[in-house]
């Protein structure tokens, strides 16, 4: 099983169509990786599926980098 970070990174690469080395822990999905608002919604949907969970909207809004996504998942799920 790959690490949470690897799984999140794979989703970001697929959803945003970016290269893996662009997805650094603190790269902003919107400002650095070119995501629009709908992309971020889709990204959260994909994370929910990968980790079989529901991420409330108010939490989803705070997830804007790989590091934040990883931290949220580690804190809230037993992946």
């Amino acid at each position: 099983m790959s690490s949470i970070e690897e799984r999140v990174k794979k989703i970001v690469v697929e959803q945003l169509g970016v290269e893996e080395d662009q997805v650094t822990p603190d790269a902003s999905f919107v400002d650095d990786l070119g995501a629009d608002s709908l992309d971020t919604v889709e990204l959260v949907m994909a994370l929910e599926e990968e980790f079989d969970c529901e991420i409330p909207d108010e939490e989803a809004e705070k997830i804007s980098t790989l590091a934040q996504a990883k931290a949220y998942i580690e804190a809230n799920l037993d992946a």
């Binding site: 629009d36 709908l38 889709e42 949907m45």
Partner: protein
């Protein structure tokens, strides 16, 4: 052809919804029709089976977000993700505004407008994942031209048109189209409730000189749902025999 695609049609037990369900099925779609009662759902299952179509009737109150979630989960498990959504369910509670009760107003907004919001929102996730979808909302000529005694109905139907245009802009980049069909006066139970003189007077206003048939609307839905609709989004298709020209 719509072979293998899953289509969800609300308010499909009779009238326009039934014609839409049957026409989509004739194009090869798997059709799930909803009705507010179990007996309505059974009659949908029966006519689909009789037509040799795949699909089923489901009991659904479109004003309940909870029930929408449950039914959608069932449908997805049994048949797959719906990529065609036809928001057709609608009711009338006609009255002059000065006599209108709050319930008459609220019922119409709940059933005719809020249902479109709830159903569309619930189905979008699946369409985004499927990387495409068609949402077709059934409004009314009344929402475009107005009609005395129908302030509530016209407001809801006009609301659908604005909703569709906005959603079309939101999800266009995901290959999901959102369009509205505005039927004119169609020969259904809803218009059969009108007095005979009023129906006759209405017909004189229609250049094609007849009330529309449910199938006239169904053909337009099938067109938008199929290949012909690929590059059409945010539009209102007025299927009204010419009674109102925009």
């Amino acid at each position: 052809m719509l072979t293998g695609q899953v289509a969800l049609v609300t308010g499909a037990s009779r009238g326009i919804g039934k014609a839409i369900a049957l026409d989509l099925a004739a194009q090869g779609a798997i059709v799930i029709g909803t009705a507010t009662s179990e007996s309505g759902a059974q009659s949908i299952s029966a006519y689909l089976a009789e037509a040799g179509a795949k699909g089923a009737g489901k009991c659904l109150n479109v004003t309940s977000a909870e029930m929408i979630g449950e039914v959608l989960a069932q449908v997805t498990e049994e048949f797959g993700v719906p990529t065609i959504l036809v928001n057709n369910a609608g009711i009338t509670r006609d009255n002059l505004l000065m006599r209108m009760k709050d319930e008459e107003w609220d019922d119409i907004i709940q059933t005719n407008l809020n249902s479109v919001y709830r159903m569309s929102k619930a189905c979008l996730r699946g369409m985004m994942k499927a990387k495409g979808g068609r949402i077709i909302n059934i409004a009314s000529v009344v929402g475009v031209m107005g009609n005395a005694g129908q302030t509530n109905y016209a407001a809801a139907k006009a609301g659908i048109i604005g909703f569709s245009k906005s959603l079309a802009r939101e999800v266009g980049a995901r290959n999901i189209t959102v369009n509205t069909i505005a039927p004119g006066f169609i020969d259904t139970d809803m218009t059969r409730a009108l007095p005979e003189e009023q129906r006759a007077a209405l017909t004189t206003q229609i250049p094609l000189n007849r009330l529309g048939q449910p199938e006239d609307i169904a053909k337009a839905v099938t067109f938008l749902a199929g290949e012909g609709g690929s590059y059409i989004t945010g539009q209102t298709l007025n299927v009204n025999g010419g009674m109102y020209m925009i």
